[in-house]
């Protein structure tokens, strides 16, 4: 009797301890991303390796990143968050954080420290642009041009103002159908100094000035709204030059072998990264945290650069990027001679106002 009692007590105790110690983790994880080559790089660089370590984990992809903010808001209103991890650009992350839809986190707790021992906070540095944002990569919006359409006698376009120079470089341009980036480039080419661009753009006169500059090429612009548009327009010879994400141009040049060149000048850096939706239950949150720690460590982010020409967001990952990819990275010193960083604060404030003016201008 006594013996069994002891046995029972000890098993009961150990059972309690087991429950308390091993964190309960959900085995299903829904990851929201962009689809295409980018999602593939994530799959290869960290989702598949993670699943090798944890074969019980089942990952479901949802290619909804471009409408993640609206969908997440709708889910939140409905009180049913079905996503565990959402890949968004930085400006969306800031908005999600502002709206209370994304979870704030502590970088040094959640993220692994760098391979060289630097703390996560220092390793990611300024790129943690919001308390909710876990950056993965740095990409840039820059121009590509058809090398076979460069007019005879003219040099290949190498600086941003070539976009506005219809005399030397006639032909159509592809620009994104939104004010962001276009307004900055226009002011830059209208003689505004780089460090004054946002001060000028904050004034109604400055906005008029930028639109007036854009007006000079308006008839020659095809406005794009999906990232795949410009590569397609370039490949078809519909436009002479166009802005798009550097990774898209990389695949046009390197994988499809189209006669397209990169301009890099005045490229605008932006970030892509994760947010964790607010309101996950304990088990799902534990799984996401476990995955994030793995997926954003130094090696994994460097691995991602093997599959797509975007720079890892960690300083400590940079040396691990394969040599042959380095030249295609927006952050490579040869490419990063003249760069902009997307001004999140400015656009959060001025987006509605300038967008109304920009749309009115477009509709004219």
């Amino acid at each position: 009797m006594k013996f069994t009692k002891i046995l029972l007590t000890s098993t009961a105790l150990s059972a309690v301890a087991g429950v308390a110690l091993a964190q309960e983790m959900s085995n299903d994880m829904t990851i929201v991303s962009w689809g295409g080559a980018y999602q593939n790089s994530q799959l290869k660089a960290y989702v598949e390796p993670y699943q090798e370590l944890h074969p019980e984990v089942n990952v479901v992809w949802d290619e909804s990143s471009n409408e993640a903010v609206a969908k997440l808001r709708a889910m939140n209103e409905a009180g049913n968050i079905t996503w565990d991890l959402v890949d968004v650009v930085a400006s969306d992350a800031i908005r999600l954080c502002d709206e209370g839809l994304a979870m704030e986190y502590e970088p040094n707790e959640l993220l692994a420290e760098g391979a060289d021992g630097t703390s996560a906070e220092d390793d990611f540095g300024d790129l943690i642009v919001s308390d909710c944002y876990i950056p993965q990569i740095v990409y840039s919006t820059t121009f590509g041009y058809r090398t076979d359409m460069v007019p005879e006698g003219a040099a290949a376009p190498s600086e941003i103002c070539s976009v506005f120079d219809l005399e030397t470089y006639p032909g159509k341009r592809a620009l994104e159908k939104r004010p962001i980036n276009n307004m900055e480039w226009a002011l830059l080419c209208d003689g505004v100094a780089k460090d004054e661009v946002y001060d000028v753009l904050a004034t109604p006169e400055g906005q008029e000035k930028a639109l007036a500059k854009l007006d000079t090429i308006k008839d020659n612009v095809i406005w794009w709204s999906a990232g795949a548009d410009t590569p397609q327009l370039l490949a078809d010879g519909e436009v002479f030059m166009g802005s798009t994400y550097n990774g898209r141009l990389f695949s046009v040049i390197e994988e499809q072998n189209q006669p397209v060149g990169m301009m890099w000048d005045a490229q605008v850096f932006d970030l892509d990264g994760w947010i964790i939706p607010e309101g996950l239950d304990e088990a799902r949150l534990n799984r996401v945290k476990d995955f994030i720690k793995f997926a954003t460590d130094t090696q994994r982010l460097a691995d991602q650069a093997k599959y797509i020409s975007y720079g890892p967001a960690r300083l400590s990952s940079a040396p691990l990027v394969p040599e042959d990819m380095k030249q295609h990275m927006p952050t490579d010193p040869a490419n990063a001679g003249n760069t902009f960083l997307y001004n999140y604060e400015f656009w959060a404030d001025y987006r509605d106002d300038i967008d109304a003016k920009f749309q009115a201008w477009l509709a004219q």
Partner: protein
């Protein structure tokens, strides 16, 4: 010969018996009308129960979202909910004075933003107000960080004065009721029981009105939003500033007579508080951002402090609120009027081209032998079986300047190689692609109406001497008009709300109002404006439907025999 009018069947003889009052009665003497009603009601009820699941489904899935949309377009509770004290305090302020509001408003703003930033609601309000005033977004984000510093001025002084005030337990012992204190001390989180809800000690609300009110909010937040143990939780800086206000405020004399828990500490703190450094909230906010010292943000808060607003609707018709009432927006911000007109105009064009192209096809369908007609019908329906995106993208390949159509025209020598036609990224592109996509919606009702027109009508017309054209125009066409009506309504209403195709092939001049709605839904997150635009679109459609009914008559719409 003489018997011309035919015998029309007589009404069946009265079934009931006539009573003296002349009313027809059923066999049991009750009014016939009533017993008929009763019999019918039972039938109707049974029918209603049968369709109830579907009815509920329709109500929930169709009516509720529309109602929700209409509500969103005027709903504006976020301002008053997030800044309740500020909007109250601001009620008397005159925007016309050109002066920033007085100190009480800033103090109210401090309290509101403090609570809001704890709940992470201030940035949401910032985004909301940024639709009306540029800069509000960052203003609220900055202020959320700033209010902490303001409160800490008092917190630090109290804590430096006496460590007693550092501890959450001490505050609870002083403000909480004895029963609650007993319960919370006995409560164990691991037990799984609910945390006992905070209860204020009697008399605290009168004695420390500010502190008590804020502490209630704090307690509620800690217990139900953070789900932490309130007993151990150190209070917000806001509690300290309110405590200071109470100690130096109108109830100071009563407080001096207080002899409850922590009476000694309170007495000492009261004495010390007289010498405390104070915070000028107006200056502090101006320090956070100079915008707080100016009138526009206050005007905006005051204008949008009501629970409902017509601001979204004004915005949707290119107007804005101003101190003098509604006024048109500056010219360089007007966009929706143009878009609405363009949407209507292009939808009409698309409907027109669908009629032109669809009519002959529907005629063929209705008049070819069954086998050929079936084959043709498959061709008509084929577009339905391919993805909308694929079809639209195919048009891109066809229509672009280096595309199939231009290449062909250049090859044929009709178009000069350097002046290729712009068929895409403009209105032409939208009209072509949408006509193609919506054509089946015109053909199908037309076909089903035409199929019911017997060929004998055309033969009759011809036998009466009409040429082919006259027979068609005077006899066939008028009978197919209900099909055109049905098809047109379908195509028009579908096209007025389309956005994917215009987005892809419309460029800047070929986009619709729906593209802006989609933008506000998914990019700018201004759902209120999107809802207002949607509501206007709905109203326009209903108005057009009404006009159609008045002019053509809705009886003249047929989807089939």
């Amino acid at each position: 010969m003489s018997d011309v009018t035919e015998t029309i069947p007589q009404d069946s003889p009265e079934q009931g018996r006539k009573k003296s009052d002349g009313k027809i009665r059923a066999a049991d003497g009750t009014s016939l009308k009533r017993s008929l009603n009763r019999a019918l009601r039972r039938q109707k009820l049974r029918a209603l129960i049968l369709i109830a699941p579907l009815l509920i489904f329709v109500l929930v899935t169709f009516i509720a979202p529309i109602a929700d949309m209409l509500f969103r377009s005027v709903e504006n509770q976020i301002v008053a909910q997030t800044l309740p004290r500020t909007t109250d305090a601001l009620a008397d302020w005159e925007a016309a004075s050109g002066q920033a509001p007085g100190a009480p408003v800033y103090k109210a703003l401090y309290e509101d933003i403090f609570i809001a930033q704890e709940r992470k609601l201030h940035t949401r309000l910032g985004s909301r107000l940024n639709y009306e005033l540029t800069g509000a977004s960052s203003l609220f984000r900055k202020s959320g960080r700033g209010v902490g510093d303001m409160g800490e001025v008092y917190q630090d002084q109290f804590e430096d004065f006496d460590d007693f005030w550092k501890m959450g337990e001490n505050w609870n012992a002083f403000l909480g009721s004895d029963e609650w204190l007993a319960e919370i001390q006995a409560w164990d989180k691991a037990s799984g029981d609910d945390q006992p809800a905070f209860e204020m000690r009697d008399g605290m609300e009168e004695l420390f009105p500010q502190t008590a009110a804020k502490y209630e909010i704090f307690a509620d937040f800690v217990q139900y939003e953070d789900e932490d143990n309130l007993y151990k939780e150190d209070p917000w800086a806001l509690i300290y500033s309110s405590f200071y206000d109470d100690l130096t405020g109108p109830t100071a004399t009563q407080i001096a007579a207080y002899d409850g828990p922590a009476a000694a500490q309170i007495k000492a703190a009261t004495a010390a508080a007289a010498d405390f450094e104070t915070v000028d909230y107006a200056a502090a906010f101006a320090d956070v951002d100079k915008d707080w010292a100016e009138t526009p943000i206050w005007e905006t808060i005051q204008t949008y402090s009501g629970p409902f607003t017509n601001g979204y609707f004004l915005n949707a018709v290119d107007m804005q609120k101003s101190p003098d009432g509604a006024e048109l927006r500056p010219e360089n911000q007007r966009v929706y009027g143009t878009l609405f007109l363009r949407t209507l105009f292009m939808s009409l064009m698309i409907t027109g081209s669908c009629i032109l192209l669809g009519y002959p096809v529907a005629w063929l369908l209705a008049n070819l032998p069954a086998r050929t007609a079936n084959l043709l019908m498959i061709l008509v329906l084929l577009p339905f079986w391919t993805s909308l995106l694929v079809r639209t993208s195919a048009w891109k390949v066809m229509l672009q300047q280096q595309g199939v159509i231009n290449d062909t025209l250049v090859w044929l020598g009709i178009v000069d190689n350097f002046n290729r036609l712009a068929l895409i990224n403009n209105q032409t592109g939208t009209i072509i692609a949408m006509t193609h996509i919506l054509l089946p919606f015109m053909i199908l009702p037309l076909y089903s109406v035409m199929a019911t027109i017997p060929p004998a009508f055309l033969r009759a017309a011809k036998s009466l001497g009409a040429t082919n054209w006259t027979a068609f125009w005077r006899v066939y066409f008028p009978q197919s008009v209900p099909g055109i009506g049905a098809g047109s309504i379908l195509v028009f209403i579908l096209s007025i709300g389309y956005y994917i195709t215009p987005e892809i092939v419309g460029g800047t001049t070929g986009t619709f109002i729906s593209n802006r709605i989609a933008y506000h839904i998914s990019s700018s997150l201004n759902w209120g404006l999107a809802a207002a635009l949607g509501a206007i679109l709905l109203a326009v459609v209903l108005a057009l439907y009404w006009a159609y009914d008045k002019i053509v008559g809705i009886d003249n719409v047929k989807l089939g025999g």
